[in-house]
């Protein structure tokens, strides 16, 4: 078991930053997800934790002891990759036993440990198979078993589900989370898929352009994104962000509507915007509700049936499209005028100059 601490950890390739100075403490037994688009620095961060990549500056601590310059094998962390990296000429059993044999463990102990992990992953029937004959999901289970059998202090996972098809990804997601709940091993998990991050993480580190944008629980990054990047990146579709103007009493969205300013925002908006009245108003698709008397209006641009629900894409103020989640009861042909209102508790504001969220005063 392990706590991992990164202090001002930075990675530069030449003059360009792969990871800007980053502080992060990962608690014992915590499942932390590094989330961001490709090139954001998440994999480099993971590789620095593992020791596969050196840091340019900064310190990495494992259980309070510095390991910044320790060899990967001295850090006792197990890596699971997107590509399973199994030995194709060895059986599943030999693949899983491999790290223990490398340690020179006794045969009986190896057998016991292998049996333990294949039971946990429900793959005892595969022990004699060759990896090449297995499905993608089973290969990934074998790779997980090989990581688990070492009883490492932490698991580092780099897009382990990235190569699987959507359906399998979904079920393996739950399997890995269950495994984590049962084992409670410290896990750092890298993905570009916000659904995976939300579903699995105790906390999510959202990264973009080599920089941490926000660290928070799934609830925090979803409901209170720290800036426009996080607001757009989390959620499918992301948060609606529309240009507006605010006064003491109201928020006005172009020529398509005006509503009272939700409670608790007046002072912080005035302070943050400092005389500027332009603001970006954000709301999640489920925070909007179609209502004949709603303060905002537009026309239906397109509608999507998702099975359990419908998403309305509504064009407002001429050129902005907002997404509204709706039930499937009513149909909305293209061009239909609609009005909608917003759940005042779920309205957020962002400063258009800095792109940062404006925080509502505590109530």
């Amino acid at each position: 078991m392990a706590t991992i601490e990164l202090r001002k950890v930075e990675k530069k390739f030449g003059d360009s930053h792969a990871v800007k100075p980053l502080d992060l403490t990962i608690g014992d037994g915590e499942f932390v997800v590094l989330l961001g688009p490709s090139g954001c620095g998440k994999t480099t961060t993971l590789r620095m934790i593992s020791g596969l990549e050196t840091v340019t500056t900064g310190t990495i601590l494992l259980n309070g002891k510095e390991v910044t310059w320790n060899h990967p094998s001295e850090r006792d962390m197990a890596f699971v990759f997107q590509f399973y990296a199994l030995y194709s000429h060895l059986s599943v059993r030999q693949n899983i036993a491999f790290p223990l044999q490398a340690q020179g463990m006794k045969r009986v102990d190896i057998d016991r440990r292998v049996k333990e992990v294949v039971d946990i992953l429900r793959i005892p029937h595969l022990l004699r198979s060759r990896p090449g004959k297995l499905s993608g999901g089973d290969q990934q289970r074998v790779a997980l078993a090989r990581a688990l059998v070492r009883r490492p202090s932490a698991f580092l996972m780099d897009e382990p589900l990235g190569a699987l098809d959507a359906e399998l990804r979904e079920s393996m997601r739950a399997e890995i989370k269950n495994l984590h709940i049962a084992q409670h091993a410290t896990t750092v998990y890298v993905t570009h898929d916000q659904v995976e991050a939300m579903a699995m993480g105790d906390r999510i580190v959202v990264m973009s352009k080599a920089e941490v944008q926000q660290v928070g629980t799934p609830m925090e990054v979803y409901y209170n994104p720290s800036n426009l990047f996080v607001a757009r990146f989390i959620g499918s579709p992301g948060m609606n962000l529309v240009k507006g103007r605010v006064s003491r009493e109201s928020v006005i969205i172009g020529d398509c509507g005006k509503s009272p300013l939700p409670a608790g925002w007046n002072a912080s908006l005035a302070r943050s915007l400092d005389g500027l009245d332009e603001v970006l108003m954000g709301f999640r698709p489920e925070a909007a509700r179609v209502s004949a008397n709603g303060p905002f209006g537009g026309e239906v641009y397109s509608t999507d049936m998702h099975g359990a629900y419908t998403v309305l894409h509504v064009r407002i103020c001429g050129d902005e499209i907002v997404h509204i989640r709706s039930d499937r009861q009513t149909s909305y042909p293209m061009g239909t005028p609609v009005r909608f209102d917003l759940d005042p508790d779920m309205v957020r504001f962002f400063d258009p100059r800095t792109e940062a969220a404006i925080r509502r005063e505590a109530t």
Binding site: I181, D193, V195
Partner: protein, 355 residues
């Protein structure tokens, strides 16, 4: 007006039958989606319609006329692929103009200019017209590829997984754009995908293809609400539908390994069958008739996936927003009974006798 009709199309390769008696038709202005897993025969179907490949049996009709002997050019269809296949050294403008400048068309330049600018505006790429395509992002390149198909004003658009190389956010945005464009242009489109979300969200009608056969055809509502087989039921919807072993006992449907039971519907149910429950039709309710233990919670923000265990039976529920439930907790829930699905052990939907 163009109406395409495939009649009993069969295509055999030495070791497999790629298409086995495939029949469907789509009308002018329709957005028709072929949905199926890899290897189902989707791309082969597209290639046969385009005339790039010859079927071994069956015919293709265009407005009632057999076009089996027509060349690809005579069929006047435009392809959009997953790979953009643009000319990297040409500007966006020249890429869009390319099909119009072909020796067969020889469109006058002022007319080309008008068509290119129209298409660019519809696809919101006007600002890119002077750029070389090599400098564009994936999403921009795919817009250009679609634009190049649009300028030709073909009779039919054939789209082969055009969005699958894009990242999730772009795919989402282009899906909306593409659908809006198709509806405003009224262009006839046959769109192939393995992604059920693309099919449900974009299609006027869907044909589900599996192992070279059409399994079901219908509107997205039909496919989702009345899946004809367990294959279709599991193909559409995330999380996947719960398919539970059940038996009929004295007017009651009892689910194996759990306390779940519902009044038997007016259907010709065999002694044992499969009961299908979509995750969103599991409704937590303190006064609910059933109990389950919460095994795992996956909060997605807009909704939460609940992995439950009722008796020894795993079931998956989907609830709006961030769930109040906790892992390990016992909860009560109800099932939306009018939305249940019944399948025979052969995988076919059990439907009532026509009265």
């Amino acid at each position: 007006m163009s109406r395409f009709e495939l009649q009993h199309i069969t295509r055999r390769f030495p070791t497999v039958t790629a298409l086995d008696d495939v029949s469907f038709s789509f009308a002018d202005g329709e957005f028709f989606v072929l949905l199926g897993p890899t290897g189902a025969g989707k791309t082969t179907t597209l290639r046969i319609i385009a005339g790039l490949e010859k079927q071994d049996g069956g015919s293709i009709l265009l407005d009632g006329q057999n076009i089996d002997s027509h060349t690809p050019a005579e069929r006047d269809v435009a392809f959009v692929f997953q790979q953009y296949s643009l000319y990297p050294t040409m500007t966006v403008y020249d890429n869009l103009a390319f099909p119009l400048r072909s020796p067969m068309r020889k469109t006058p330049e002022p007319e080309i200019k008008k068509k290119v600018e129209d298409a660019a505006e519809k696809l919101r790429i006007t600002q890119l017209l002077k750029r070389k395509t090599a400098q564009l992002s994936g999403g921009e390149m795919q817009r250009v590829a679609i634009g190049r198909a649009i300028v030709r004003e073909p009779r039919l658009f054939l789209m082969d997984e055009p969005l699958s190389n894009l990242d999730a956010k772009l795919r989402e945005a282009l899906r909306v754009e593409l659908k809006h464009l198709q509806k405003t242009q009224g262009s006839t489109t046959l769109f192939v995908t393995h992604d059920q979300i693309e099919a449900l969200t974009m299609a006027d009608r869907i044909a589900v293809l599996n192992e070279g056969r059409i399994v079901q055809q219908g509107t997205p509502d039909d496919i989702y609400d009345k899946p004809g087989t367990t294959f279709v039921a599991q193909l559409v919807g995330t999380p996947k539908i719960n398919l539970l072993q059940a038996a009929r006992q004295d007017g009651t449907v009892r689910v194996a390994d759990s306390g779940l039971s519902v009044p038997a519907p007016k259907l010709p149910l065999p002694a044992s069958f499969l009961l299908g429950i979509r995750p969103e039709d599991i409704r937590p309710d303190p006064k609910g008739a059933f109990t389950a233990k919460v095994v795992l919670i996956e909060p997605l923000g807009v909704e939460t996936i609940l992995h439950l265990r009722s008796g020894s039976l795993p079931i998956v529920g989907l609830v709006p927003g961030m769930a109040a439930q906790k892992t390990g907790e016992e909860i009560r829930f109800d099932i939306v009974q009018e939305k249940l699905h019944y399948f025979g052990t052969d995988g076919m939907r059990i439907v009532g006798d026509a009265l």
